[in-house]
Structures are given as C-alpha cells and as structure tokens.
C-alpha cells in the first residue's frame, strides 16, 4: 500500500495538525500565552506525480504553514507527510534534496551578491557538481531572460526579476517537486503572467515537475492547476479539478451587482427572494460600493425583480453583469467567506 502511494503520489499529508501558541514578554522572561491559533486542523492532502496542484485560500488559512511543514522548516504537532516517498520528520535531508521552494517576497536571495553568485552559492549547498552547475546556471539565466544582467547585484533588480531568480534557484538542482508559496504575490500583471506561463508550460508540462502552488488569486489557480484544494481556517474544504469544483455550484451563471448603500436589511430581503440560492458579498469596498454575487437559476427571467429590490431599498446600482461561476464563487458557497485579493 505504502509503495503504491509512493509510486502514484509525490506529496502525501495525513492528518497534519499545527497549533501556534503565542508568546509574551522578551528574553529571558518570555512565556507562552494561553492564546492559540490553529493553523492546520487534520489536513489530508495528496498530490499526484507530475500534477500542478493548487492550494487556494485566504490569507491566514494555513497555506504557508503547510508548505513549510512539507519543506521541513516547521515541525507539525501531529500527523505525517511524505515528499517523494521521504518522511519529512524522519528524513528531512532527503526531502530537502528532492524539493525546490519558492516563497513569496523577495528577501530569500542575497541582494549584495550578483544573480550568478547567488546561483553558484546555492548550487554548492545543493551538491550540484561544478561543471553541471556552470552549465545549468547559464541555461537558467537564459531561460529566465536574466543573462544580460547576470553579473549585476540583485539589489538592482526589480521585484519580478528577483522572483524569476528565486525560481531559478529553486530548480537549480533539478528537484522532482516544487513548492511554490504565492509565487506571484506583489508582482505587476505582466510579470505575474510570464511567471504563470513559465510555471505551467516549462516547469510542469515540459519538465514534468510536480508542483504544489499556494495562492489566494482564484484566476491563477483556475488557469494553471490540474486540481485545486480549498483551505480555510486550517481545514481542507474541497479538492477537485477547477471545472468539477465550479460545477458544484449547480448553475451556469452568476449575477454580479456592484451597489452602494448596502446594509444587512437589504441583503436579507434579497436572500429572501424565492429563486435566490445563495449570496456572496465581496470585501472589496471602494467609495462605499460593494460587490454582491447572487447564485440563482434563470438569471434572465429574474433579473428585473432583483434590480427592483435594490432600487426600492435606495441602493444605487453601478454595474450589473452575468458571469460564469468562478472558483471564488465555489469558495464563497462552501465557506460563506470571500478570498481577499
């Protein structure tokens, strides 16, 4: 059974649990507080070999904790995890040798070293033979479009260039599994797009790497991933392909309305309409505007009635559109919460 699991899956997590206990006071008077945060609550997860698997959830859902446990830099309180068949607790060295990790933010590189010096340094830490390292560094710098600036200090790079270099560092030793924690966070749209294409086309499809990608951007997960797991408050809520997850909503269309002067009374009235199945309110309020997503059947037939309720209640309607269900709709339906960002 274990051998079968190892053959089919690159990442297997069983009943992982992690609780953070806050600390109070400074050294040497630090003591544990009674306040705790449950980061992971009995998480089960399996990522197939060669799969691009997305872990989608809002900030603080437990995504980074899970990636750090799988990459051996956080020890879980309970449960087990296998990466490439190696137990993260019993064989951390073998796990580290077989994974590449990219975290969000830009501080995982030495800014006062050049791109080439950074890669040479990490190649040695990962035991890449000198000749192989030289060739691979040239290839990766070229692949990332950084060869012209390879001998410049990283501090002169833009955020997107640093993220590309961080990806180059993660794949330098040609690991079988990549753990990418919010790899496009904070990047401008064009850089994000190029990084997404690179991850999907080059790393996953061409090089066949197994990728576990965390994100709170639903579009990113929808476009890139073979399967997606929703994580919320430390629990996995659902796992399936984006298409199957979206089919869970049970309808083909969603009515999206942006209104002002919205309050709980109006929402209760809207929810009370007989054809409304569910309702999601996005937290992206701008100039008093709120986005409401209404899950209903026969949108065309019922749209007038919905508009009437908002208008009678004194809400001003700024825009109205009929859309296909997104992963965010699924998340809202499953958790009653919205993904931020």
């Amino acid at each position: 059974m274990v051998f079968h699991v190892m053959l089919e899956y690159s990442v297997v997590a069983k009943r992982l649990r992690k609780v953070y206990r806050k600390e109070e006071g400074g050294f040497p008077f630090r003591r544990k507080s009674s306040e705790t945060i449950v980061a992971l609550d009995d998480v089960d997860l399996s990522v197939k070999k060669g799969e691009l698997f997305g872990l989608l959830g809002p900030n603080g859902a437990g995504k980074t904790t899970l990636v750090k446990i799988l990459s051996t830099i956080i020890i879980p309180d309970a449960g087990t995890a296998l990466v490439n068949g190696h137990d993260v607790l019993k064989e951390p060295g073998k796990v580290r040798a077989s994974i590449g990790v990219v975290s969000s933010g830009e501080r995982s590189l030495y800014w006062r070293l050049t791109a080439r010096e950074n890669l040479e340094y990490f190649a040695r830490l990962y035991k890449v033979p000198d000749g192989v390292a030289r060739r691979r560094i040239s290839e990766l710098l070229s692949l990332m479009g950084l060869e012209d600036r390879a001998d410049e200090l990283v501090e002169k790079y833009s955020g997107g260039m640093r993220q590309k270099l961080a990806i180059a560092r993660a794949i330098l030793h040609d690991p079988e599994v990549l753990l990418l924690d919010e790899p496009t966070l904070g990047l401008d749209p064009s850089f994000s797009r190029s990084i997404r294409v690179f991850i999907r086309e080059e790393l996953n499809r061409k090089q066949g790497k197994t990728i576990l990608l965390t994100t709170h951007y639903m579009d990113e997960a929808d476009q890139m991933c073979d399967r997606v797991a929703f994580i919320n408050k430390g629990r996995i809520v659902a796992v399936d392909s984006p298409e199957k997850l979206k089919a869970m909503i049970g309808m083909n269309e969603v009515l999206k309305i942006v209104v002002s002067n919205l309050d709980e009374k109006v929402l209760t009235m809207v929810r009370g309409l007989p054809f409304i199945e569910d309702c999601g309110v996005a937290n992206a309020e701008q100039d008093g505007r709120t986005m409401v997503r209404l899950y209903m059947k026969n949108v065309d037939a019922n749209i007038q009635e919905v508009v009437g309720v908002f208008s009678k209640a004194g809400c001003r309607i700024f825009s109205l559109s009929i859309e296909k269900p997104t992963l965010e709709d699924v998340f809202v339906k499953l958790t009653g919460e919205v993904l931020d960002g």
Binding site: S71, T72, P92
Partner: protein
C-alpha cells in the same frame, strides 16, 4: 514527533565544500560593505592603542616592575597585545557564528539557506572561519602598527607552536559558538546578550592583566573559560619563550573543554533548532 536533524544527505567532502563556499560568500559580502571593513580595521587598533597608552601613563615606561612580579614579564605592551590577539580570535569565532545567523534572519535568507540539504554545522563553520580570516588580517595590522610605534618583543620562532596551541583551543571556541548560535536562533534578541557576554569576558579573561590580580571568586569563573587557557598558553609561548612541554598543563584542560563544548554545542544547537522549527519561527526577525 522528533525529526532526524541535520540534513545528512551530503558526504564529508561535500560538507567541506559547503564550508568553503559559505566562507567565500561571507568574504564577498563583507567586502561589499566597505564602511564595515574600514571600521573593523580601525576599531581593534583603537582598542589596543588606548590600552597601551593607558599603561604607559600609569607606569611611565614600557616596562612594569609590578607586572614582572605578577606575570613573569614586565613588557606590558607585548603582554597586552598577545591577550588582545587571542581574545580577538576567540570573539570572532563566537560572535561570527551567532551574529551571522541573526544577520541571515534579518536579511530573510535563513530559511532558504536552511532549506538546502547540507549540515547546519557546515554553514556555521564557514561563517566562523570567514570571521577568523578577517580577524587575522586586522590582527596582522595591529601587530605591525604596535611593533612600529612601541616595539614588540615577541618570539616569532615560537609562532608555529603558538598556532598549534591555538588549534587545540579552537574546537572549544567552535563548540561555544554552536551553543550561542542556537540560543540566538531561538531568542532572537541577541545584541544585548552578546554585549553583556563581551563585557563579562572582558572582565574575566586575562587580556590586559594577569589572572592573579582578579579577586579569587572571579578567578574561579575565569578558569572555567577556554579562552583563559588559550591566552595564558600563547602568551607563555610568544613572550616568555616557553617550550611546548611547558604549556602542556594548559593544553590538557583545553582538550577536556574541546570535548565538552563541542558535544554541548552540537546538542544545544540541535535542541534550539528543533524548538524553533516547532514554534515555526525560523525566519522570524
């Protein structure tokens, strides 16, 4: 839920190469902060000059009868500079490890470094050796300047023996460095801790005065510190022209300290690392 720590995926040769590449990276980074280099070059010179001038003001000449009675040499300039040199190397090993890991936490590179399948001790050793290498350069400057200005009576023929004696002391310094690195990894606030420890060692170690002038209680504490034996032994070899057989009495406790501190250092670092990984605070600054 105890993990098997320390990577373990690389062989000894690879680990030696990791030590080398960390050393190289630290030196390159060091040279990219020229103001630090300038301050590091000047500060030890200022410390040693102020001590030597202070001594001259008290004694009125380069020779102290009182020191001769207490320490078998009246040449306080040579006495002080050997003390400074040995303590500089001890400090550079200790602080080189603890400061460097804290620096990686500040710069955000500690997690990416610890994600590599090499031993953490190779990384720490690389940092300690780089720190010792830069210290060697500044020590050479110190000796040259003090020799030029005040004259220095050092038995240079005994230098290989002195270096050998230092090598005997080095594992204990490294062991203490491992312990400090572990404590700093967990408790983070390391500046006050290191400053206090530096001042305490400045009092307890026989850097600019002989042990015999310390109050007895403090002297006992001083005997618990490996650098005390290193300073006394190297001073004996470099100033008093002693032979290796005459410093064996100091080498024996050092060998005991080597075994004790290396074992303790590895255990303390591994324990602290495990605590940090359990708390999930490895990269926190």
């Amino acid at each position: 839920m105890k993990p098997t720590e320390g990577g373990g995926a690389l062989g000894l040769f690879d680990e030696a190469r990791v030590v080398g590449v960390v050393l190289k990276k630290e030196l390159v980074l060091y040279l990219r902060y020229p103001v630090w280099v300038l301050f590091d070059a000047l500060m030890p010179l200022l410390w040693v000059l102020s001590l030597v001038i202070y001594g001259r003001a008290l004694v009125g000449s380069p020779y102290s009868e009182n020191l001769a009675r207490l320490a078998n040499t009246g040449d306080y300039v040579s006495f002080t500079i050997v003390g400074m040199i040995v303590s500089s190397f001890a400090y550079s090993t200790l602080w080189g490890m603890s400061y460097a890991l804290r620096g990686e936490q500040w710069s955000g590179t500690l997690e990416s470094t610890f994600l590599a399948p090499c031993s953490r001790f190779s990384i720490l050793l690389g940092k300690a050796f780089s720190s010792m290498l830069t210290t060697s350069l500044w020590v050479f400057l110190q000796i040259s300047l003090v020799s030029l200005v005040f004259g220095l009576n050092v038995k240079f023929l005994n230098l290989p023996f002195a270096m050998l004696f230092f090598l005997v002391a080095l594992p204990s310094f490294i062991g203490i460095g491992f312990s400090l690195a572990g404590v700093v990894l967990d408790f983070k606030e390391h500046s006050a801790f290191v400053n206090f420890l530096s001042s305490l060692l400045g009092l307890l170690l026989p850097i600019s005065y002989p042990l015999s002038v310390l109050p007895p209680v403090l002297r006992y504490f001083s005997y618990l510190l490996p650098p005390t034996y290193a300073i006394e032994g190297m001073r004996s070899l470099l100033i008093m022209d002693s032979g290796l057989n005459e410093v064996m009495g100091l080498a024996v406790p050092l060998i005991f300290f080597d075994v004790f501190w290396l074992s303790a250092g590895i255990m303390i670092f591994a324990r602290e690392e495990r605590r940090v990984l359990k708390k999930g605070t490895l990269g926190y600054y």
